[in-house]
Amino acid sequence: MLDTSSRPLSPRFEPPQLVTSPPIVRAIGLHKRYGRVQAVADVDVEAYPGEVLGIVGESGSGKSSVLRLLNLEEQADSGTYLLNTPVLEGQDLFALDRFRRREVQIMNIGVVYQNPHLGLRMRFTSSGNIAERLLLTGERTFATLREAARESLSISEFPLNRMDDPPRVLSGGMQQRVQLAKALALRPVLLLLDEPTTGLDVSVQALVLDTLKRLQRERHMTIILVSHDLGVIRTLADRVMVMRHGRVVEQGLTDQILEDPQDAYTQQLVHAKL
């Protein structure tokens, strides 16, 4: 018989090791309105170093809007956004001027869009798309650009003999790899993925997810991943936020949310299967 007497009845949970360090992303009280539509209402996003945070929700739930705010593409109506890096500590990124904001975005944030047309110059070479990131930081040596493009493309498992093909002649999966290489070129502290594998067929999707998982493990990156595909979320995310109508309805560890959803909407979402 097992001796249970020494165990406390309700075990005191230590916070996961992930959470013991301060969050690297702290976005508090985000609001964003487009005309009459309140796209984001009072959303807090916190992500810890090396964590993958998933954001799920139906179309129009505001998850992509949150990502655009975090990517500094748009100004929030209200809220603060802190990135806990040595240079930017304590600085509200929404309060920066245009020039500085652009600089912060280039140096610290990488993004992969669902639609590669948003993230890539389709008629320029793939390597040029990556070189552009370095050019924006002031790199002016051709050999260095080539080397960086080669390195970045190879870690995202892109075939190097096609590095000078324009993305418009590449397959969807390859285009996403170019986007990923571009996002990683400057070793960002935060990687934003907006439905990175939606629209790819299942086998390619698995390959891209594999790459993402490996990179996450190797580089210990903080990733915020938006998806409506719970399979993708289950594969990658450590923690999940469920959004609906611009608000966060539930959040917690991935398996906890997906196995034991508390909110009615989350239950419906998790059990919705064809």
Binding site: R98, F99, R102, R121, F124, T125, S127, G128, A131, E132, L135, L136, T137, G138, R140, T141, F142, A143, L145, R146, D164
Partner: protein, 312 residues
């Protein structure tokens, strides 16, 4: 005495065609452009009796500067006698009474499309360039309001992307005309549409260069003795067109910008693109100093560097 005697005699046109207000506005814009080298100053481009795209920008600048004492030279693709140049020259002289010349060194105002003359222009001369497309960022930014922001922030990183693409595909800079150049360390201009060969001539030039786009309604300037550097990578220097061994069939000159004349047997002959300079050589065998000497060396020593073919 009648009122009619006191009044000014009726004229069909204002002096130099543009009315006084238009000329005053243009002169103000020109002063602003000179004060901020390379900055594109918007202006109200007036209607002229020639169509947009035929040099209306340059023509308006010339008309606002010209006076009865001016000596005007108009060139098109280096030639004084092409239809467009002859047309503009006739219009300017009819409207202003200015004299004309084909000698670069005699002119006070040179209006040009595509070329800067071979002879080194002097202090006090004004070169007016007709510009089809003033915006150097158009190749990388379709959105012109974004382009204005990039100019304001001097955020020009994307321009090198165009050069990167050229190097990857051709292993050399191949942009033939309007090679993007940094003026006075601040603004990047499109010195359109002069060939790469002429771009270095803007650097620390003694003359004033005014570039004006009539359709796009913008003008910008390279004042005398201003630094102009073509964009380049640290490890791949800018090059002018390689025309080594091209000999002018009429004057026997080398190392000047040539027109290539394809022959029936498949070979090519060459002639000087700058016809005023060619005429001068043919008539007197004398000319002023030229930007490129007979060995092809540029007059600012060290400005042009030896070519590098980058490894891909």
């Amino acid at each position: 005495m009648k009122l009619a005697d006191l009044a000014q005699q009726r004229q069909d046109y204002s002096y130099a065609f543009l009315d006084a207000h238009a000329k005053r506005e243009l002169r103000r814009r020109i002063l602003k452009a000179i004060a901020i080298p390379g900055y594109q100053v918007p202006y109200a481009s007036r209607e002229l009796p020639i169509a947009r795209g035929w040099g209306t920008g340059g023509l308006q600048v010339t008309l606002s500067l010209v006076g009865p004492e001016s000596v005007v030279k108009v060139i098109d693709q280096g030639a004084d006698d092409s239809v467009n140049a002859a047309n503009l020259r006739r219009f300017i002289t009819t409207m202003s009474g200015a004299k004309t010349t084909i000698d670069t060194l005699q002119a006070t105002i040179l209006q040009s499309r595509h070329r800067i003359p071979e002879e080194i222009m002097l202090e006090g001369q004004t070169l007016v360039l007709q510009v089809p497309d003033p915006e150097p960022l158009r190749g990388v930014t379709a959105d012109m309001s974004k382009a204005h922001q990039l100019h304001a922030d001097a955020d020009y990183g994307q321009m090198w992307l165009l050069l990167y693409e050229q190097l990857v595909r051709y292993r050399q800079y191949i942009q033939g005309a309007s090679y993007p150049s940094l003026v006075n360390g601040r603004y990047i201009i499109s010195p359109s549409p002069i060939p790469r060969w002429d771009t270095p001539k803007l650097h620390q030039a003694a003359h004033l260069t005014l570039l004006s786009a009539g359709r796009e309604k913008r003008l910008y300037a390279v004042p005398p003795y201003t630094n102009v550097y073509p964009l380049e990578f640290n490890d791949v220097p800018f090059q002018v067109e390689d025309q080594k061994g091209w000999v002018c069939k009429t004057t026997g000159v080398q190392n000047k910008f040539m027109n290539e004349l394809p022959q029936e047997d498949g070979t090519s002959q060459y002639e000087l693109s700058d016809s005023g300079y060619a005429n001068k050589l043919a008539d007197t065998a004398q000319s002023g100093a030229t930007y490129y000497d007979d060995q092809g060396d540029f007059y600012h020593a060290g400005y042009l560097k030896p070519p590098v073919i980058p490894p891909i």
